[in-house]
């Protein structure tokens, strides 16, 4: 039957057309992706090109086939209109199951006329349009192949994501860092979490294949370490709340607490001691106690935290003084204030020292990670970067003297303290006098860059890494 033949032929043509269009659009898509990658100085990612191309091919194939696949009714209407057959073919299809004599005659007549019309005029679809897409696709493919990768200086495009393999010295350095943290004076609560994060990083880096993935893993670990310690330390939380009260003395004390500087805290407490004298002593004491108390309540800090307890005790002592207005003499008042201030200095600075130690450990861990894996601080989010040594003045004790406890407990201070020397050396490049620790850091950073460029033989790399590891560990 002529119509059946035409339908089969048409179906095949639609499938071929769909395939042709799909291949063309797939090639266009892949070419465009490659061109964009080349022009934006990216590495030409074959996998991504393939996925995009195949995806578009399948989608276009499916869409075109569904849209154009000839149903009998659709095809019948097409031929009736194309050849002016007066609805003969449609009638033939609509009544294909009817067995009346006139229906048979109608089918014969329709099929005969359709055949004659096809022979006379041809039934081929417009092929020209189907060739446009492949031509465009071929042109774009050629452009994508021969287009050079764009570089800003016209030189060889950098390898933007080289391979990564965890070296022996990096692994050892990480293990050493873990040991160091475990032996440090970092509070037990965040310590377990920090150690766990570092161990997890080690496991992850053993399976990472690209530098970008390595950096992501290290930065994630830095973020996690920061969180562990931030969740534990509360000086900023409490200090900020105290700064938001209305009492000037409490505001200044809060600022000192937030700065983590014991000396500043001592100075503010001395100022409070001076203010609590004379006629206004009792009212001032009550006001300060109330402000400190409300700041502590509203801070959300742990009620069993050392800093919280220290400040709470201070507020309680001031409350007791305020309540003793009727009974205290001038001398008793002065004595009570001195005692309260003395207690506060001891307890608050001790609490601050612990939190300062935590901060110090955090800074060192973060810097060490960056050094080991050749990551600059700029690559970290701003909020995750270590605070400068001395910023906030984590000097532990309130009188500005170094605490032996801090050093002897194995706590990690800034570079100059680790090596037990605060000698400086002149740096001709910057013209500055740098501490020993800073010099080591800079040398190690440069060494790490050379390691990343694969310019150093592996055996020498291990030797140099071991040398710096020994320096960092304080080995002689």
């Amino acid at each position: 039957m002529q119509f059946k033949k035409l339908k089969a032929r048409r179906s095949l043509l639609v499938l071929l057309g769909a395939l042709l269009l799909g291949l063309s659009t797939g090639a266009v898509t892949g070419s465009l992706v490659a061109i964009v990658q080349k022009l934006t100085v990216r590495e030409v990612d074959g996998g991504r090109i393939l996925v995009a191309s195949v995806g578009v091919l399948l989608a276009v194939f499916a869409f075109y086939t569904v849209l154009r696949f000839p149903t009998e009714r659709r095809l019948a209407k097409y031929y009736d209109e194309k050849f002016g057959l007066g609805e003969r073919v449609r009638t033939m299809i609509a009544f294909s199951g009817a067995d009346g004599e006139i229906h048979k005659a109608q089918r014969e007549d329709a099929d005969k006329r359709l055949g004659a019309a096809v022979r006379a005029k041809g039934a081929s679809p417009r092929l020209l349009l189907h060739l446009v897409a492949p031509i465009i696709a071929a042109a774009l493919v050629l452009v994508a192949i021969f287009l050079p990768v764009h570089t800003e200086d016209g030189g060889e495009p950098p390898v933007t994501d080289p391979d990564f393999n965890l070296s022996t010295w990096q692994e050892q350095a990480l293990l050493d860092l873990i040991e160091t943290v475990e032996a440090s004076a970092l509070h037990e609560s965040p310590k377990a979490g920090v150690v766990e994060e570092l161990r997890s990083l080690l496991l992850t880096l053993k399976s990472v294949k690209k530098v970008s993935a390595m950096k992501n893993a290290v930065i994630s670990t830095v973020t996690a370490v920061n969180k562990e310690i931030n969740d534990h330390n509360e000086y900023d939380l409490i200090g900020e709340k105290m700064r938001n009260t209305v009492n000037p003395a409490v505001i200044r004390l809060g600022a000192a607490v937030a700065s983590l500087r014991g000396t500043l805290v001592g100075e503010e407490l001395d100022a409070i001691e001076k203010a609590l004298s004379g006629d206004v002593a009792y009212s001032q004491a009550a006001a300060i106690a109330s402000s400190v108390g409300s700041a502590l309540t509203g801070s959300g800090a742990r009620t069993d935290g050392a800093l919280y307890l220290a400040l709470l005790a201070f507020a309680d002592e001031l409350d007791a003084i305020a309540d003793s207005e009727a009974t205290f003499s001038e001398t008793e008042l002065t004595e009570a204030v001195k005692v309260a201030i003395g207690h506060a200095k001891d307890t608050v600075s001790t609490a601050l020292l612990a939190e300062s130690t935590n901060e110090g450990v955090r800074n060192t861990v973060v810097r060490r990670l960056l050094q080991i894996f050749g990551i600059t601080e700029d690559e970290l989010p701003a909020s995750e970067r270590p605070k400068d040594a001395g910023a906030g003045g984590s000097d532990g004790g309130y009188d500005g003297e170094d605490s032996d406890e801090e050093l002897n407990s194995g706590g990690l201070g800034s570079g100059d303290m680790v090596y037990g020397s605060d000698d400086t050396v002149y740096d001709p490049e910057s013209g500055e006098y740098l501490t020993y620790g800073e010099v080591i850091d800079r040398y190690f950073a440069k060494v790490s860059e050379h390691f990343m460029d694969d310019n150093v033989p592996e055996e020498l790399e291990e030797l140099v890494s071991a040398y710096f590891a020994a320096l960092y560990n304080g080995d002689k």
């Binding site: 007066g86 609805e87 003969r88 449609r90 009638t91 033939m92 609509a94 009544f95 009817a98 009346g100 004599e101 006139i102 229906h103 048979k104 005659a105 109608q106 014969e108 007549d109 329709a110």
Partner: protein, 335 residues
């Protein structure tokens, strides 16, 4: 032609004979009637489809001659009724008269009126009184006459071609729309073209008599009618015909803009029946085995022009009913 007895032949042969028979009818009629090919085709269509025709034309264009020749060609008895204001219903249907039979008894005998024929020309039907018109139209509808409680069935095929004179309006009783609806077609017989008029004059100078010969008979026409009824129509075309007729009603939201603007009220469902039935016949007459959109379009004017009432806006804009029908067809096609 012996369509019915040719049982072994396929329908293809019967349809071929159908087309050939129509061609012979056309050829024979052309010997007596010059031009008016559309009118002739539509009249033949109506006869085969079982409908009646209302023919409008000025005097002398050949209405009577056409019907008379048709009677000869189709071997059908022909009668002509000239309607006048004093024509009574019994003048049309017949009446009971008293006669003396062979034994000398007075008996009532029904004397058949001119309606008892196969082809009836009802000339100037709009001149008769409404009562006479309704008697006529009742016969057209039921194909039987009831007189003195006695029914007389008319022989099939039965076809009425009624005429209206568009010029003389004084003393006429225009057919009400409900009665007009009973005519399958309304055809307008125009004044012949100059060349046609020359041919008419030449022909009638030779002889005024009709010379067409018989080529069909009533039985064959009934067979052709049965054949035509089985012609297939696809749903899309049925839907199109229905939309066309529905589109003549201005109160419907789906009606074309032309309907809403110019039509006062539209065609009845009989119009949809008429257009499809006639389209089947037309398809066969043109050698096709199925109804096409072209068949429906060609029959839109004859079927709808007497079933649509235009409003004053149409009159004001100078739109004829045929103009409005063409607009409705055009807008319906676009949907």
């Amino acid at each position: 032609m012996d369509i019915q007895n040719n049982t072994k032949a396929s329908e293809n042969v019967r349809v071929k004979e159908f087309g050939e028979a129509i061609a012979r009818v056309r050829a024979e009629l052309a010997r007596d009637v010059v031009g008016q090919s559309d009118i002739i085709d539509n009249v033949i269509t109506a006869i085969i489809a079982g409908g009646n025709v209302l023919l409008e034309g000025v005097p002398g264009v050949g209405k009577t001659r056409l019907v008379r020749s048709l009677g000869r060609v189709l071997s059908l008895p022909f009668s002509r009724i000239q309607f006048t204001p004093d024509l009574m219903p019994s003048d049309v249907t017949g009446t009971v008269v008293v006669k003396k039979d062979a034994s000398g008894n007075m008996v009532n005998v029904f004397r058949k009126g001119p309606i008892f024929s196969s082809l009836v020309l009802a000339d100037e039907i709009n001149r008769a009184t409404p009562k006479t018109q309704s008697a006529m139209l009742e016969v057209m509808q039921e194909h039987k006459v009831t007189v003195a409680n006695q029914s007389y069935v008319l022989d099939e095929p039965f076809f009425v071609l009624a005429t209206e004179n568009p010029i003389e309006q004084d003393g006429t009783y225009p057919l009400p729309e409900a009665q007009m609806d009973r005519f399958m077609f309304k055809l307008i017989m125009k004044f012949p073209a100059a060349s046609e008029l020359v041919d008419i004059v030449k022909m009638t100078q030779v002889t005024m008599a009709e010379t067409a010969s018989a080529v069909l008979d009533g039985k064959t026409i009934l067979e052709m009618r049965a054949l035509a009824s089985s012609v297939p129509v696809i749903d899309e075309i049925l839907d199109y015909a229905v939309r066309l007729v529905s589109g003549t009603h201005p109160e419907l939201d789906s009606s074309p803009a032309a309907t809403k603007k110019y039509v006062k009220y539209g065609a009845s469902p009989r119009a949809a029946q008429a257009i499809v039935t006639a389209a089947k016949v037309r398809a066969l007459m043109n050698g096709a085995f199925n109804v096409s959109y072209a068949d429906i379009d060609a029959l839109a004017r004859p079927v709808l022009r007497h079933r649509i009432k235009l409003n004053y806006t149409a009159v004001n804009d100078g739109r004829t009913v045929d103009d409005v029908i063409d607009m409705i067809v055009s807008e319906t096609k676009k949907k």
